[in-house]
Amino acid sequence: MTQTPQTNQSTEHLNPGKLNAFIDGELPPAERQGIEQHLTGCHACTMGVLSATQLKAATASAGHRFAPPPEALARLTAHFHSQPQAETRTKKSARIYSMTSLRPLAWAALAAAILLTVSLLGWRQLHQTNALAAELLDQHLATLSSGATPQVISTDRHTVKPWFQGRLPFSFNLPDPAALPPDTTLKGADLTYINGQPAALLLFTIHKHEVSIFLTQRTPGPILTALPSSRSGFAIHSTTTHDLLIVAVSDVNPADLDLLVAALVRAQ
């Protein structure tokens, strides 16, 4: 980055290039300080920086979309260790070590690699389920704010279900109101993404408690079914049907949540 004169920095508005360099942390300290000083007195530029920062954060979140399949890391490490040793070994090392002396080391390396793979898979599994639980809870909390309006507002299942046609690569059934547990009402629905997959978000109330139900396609792997049963005081109930994964998040009594999930499973 080039250094620019500081004399009139605090009075100059930010152009797009400078704004991007500022939010990306690419400016030298002096120039950054000058801009920060300008922002304290310029509403328009402050809003511009806020908006750009929002977009950057949202891009970071949306761009982190494709997780490797659980078995991909194991395949990679297997591929690694199946590569011919001759390809990577130097002639010098070949002279120094005989095959006999390398064998214990090779076994030790293989054992270490297996241990590392298992540990990484375990850590990754735990990390992913925790991250997914946090993502689901965040989405549920977002639905609780007064400004959050679902894209389709209806208590009629014949309105809600068709709304998803063309928006989701799968279909699902909604139970008849009579088949729902007592004092349980459908409020509306939204299109969302969980774990990088398109999902239907159904909003219910049970005894005035808000409930978010996420329906998405069932994918192979244990990640989605190994979700914790609660997080931050909210109950998380996940189950699967032949084609679907259904996850419910709410602060309602877990037994009442189970009844609603069971009604949804029966409807499929």
């Binding site: 809003m47 908006s51 750009a52 891009t59 970071a60 982190h64 990577t88 070590y97 990754r124």
Partner: protein
């Protein structure tokens, strides 16, 4: 070209060694040690490389193959990697070059990209800053907008915002001047915002 700030694990391990040990590590002819060092640096980047590979190839098995080939090439070329430089930028560059020589990459590179028009970069959007404080929590709209972005613009934005790689390292990965990186980022964000406006308008 690359710096050492993104190598915390390796930096810490080197700090723990004295000079003689460090020298011994450098000159040790053991393939196992070299391979272990490589895995220590490369495996934590597996998920990031896969995510980026998927964005490039738009296909799960191709993305996995691309990452596997990248790891193989990187291991073979690991002797040319300069210790203390940015390993993440180094391996992302290998990933990208490997992609460009693949069938999908060659097909993608045939798409003509209208490179960086300075006159379009400094245009001020007609909307007010308040208008642009849009509902960016709408993930579906963001995903769609990212899908619609030109691949070259999307790539630079992913490297900057998702992978948090510095401009000079992005320039090395893409093999373009740093000024081109800056103009592409500017153009990518401006285009992304334009793409988001109508979609969010519908959902509001």
């Amino acid at each position: 070209m690359f710096n050492s700030q993104h190598l915390p694990v390796y930096a810490v391990s080197l700090h723990r060694l004295n000079l003689r040990q460090t020298e011994a590590l450098r000159t040790m002819p053991s393939t196992i040690s070299r391979s272990a060092t490589f895995e220590e640096l490369a495996l934590p980047l597996f998920a990031s490389l896969y995510n980026h590979a998927f964005w490039l190839t738009r296909n799960q098995s191709e993305a996995e193959d691309l990452v596997q080939e990248t790891f193989s090439k990187a291991l073979r070329a690991f002797d040319s990697f300069q210790l203390g430089t940015n390993f993440k930028a180094w391996i992302f560059r290998i990933l990208r070059n490997t992609f460009l020589t693949s069938r999908t990459g060659i097909a993608t590179s045939r798409t003509v990209f209208l490179e960086d028009h300075p006159d379009t970069l400094d245009t001020v959007a007609s909307s007010t800053p308040e208008d642009t404080l849009i509902r960016l929590d709408n993930q579906a709209a963001l995903h769609l907008a990212l899908e619609q972005l030109q691949p070259q613009l999307r790539e630079v934005l992913l490297l900057c915002d998702v992978e948090e790689i510095k401009y000079k390292d992005i320039a090395a990965i893409l093999d373009v001047p740093i000024g081109t990186v800056m103009s592409r980022i500017s153009r990518a964000r401006s285009t992304l915002r334009q793409l988001l406006q109508p979609q969010l308008g519908e959902s509001l």
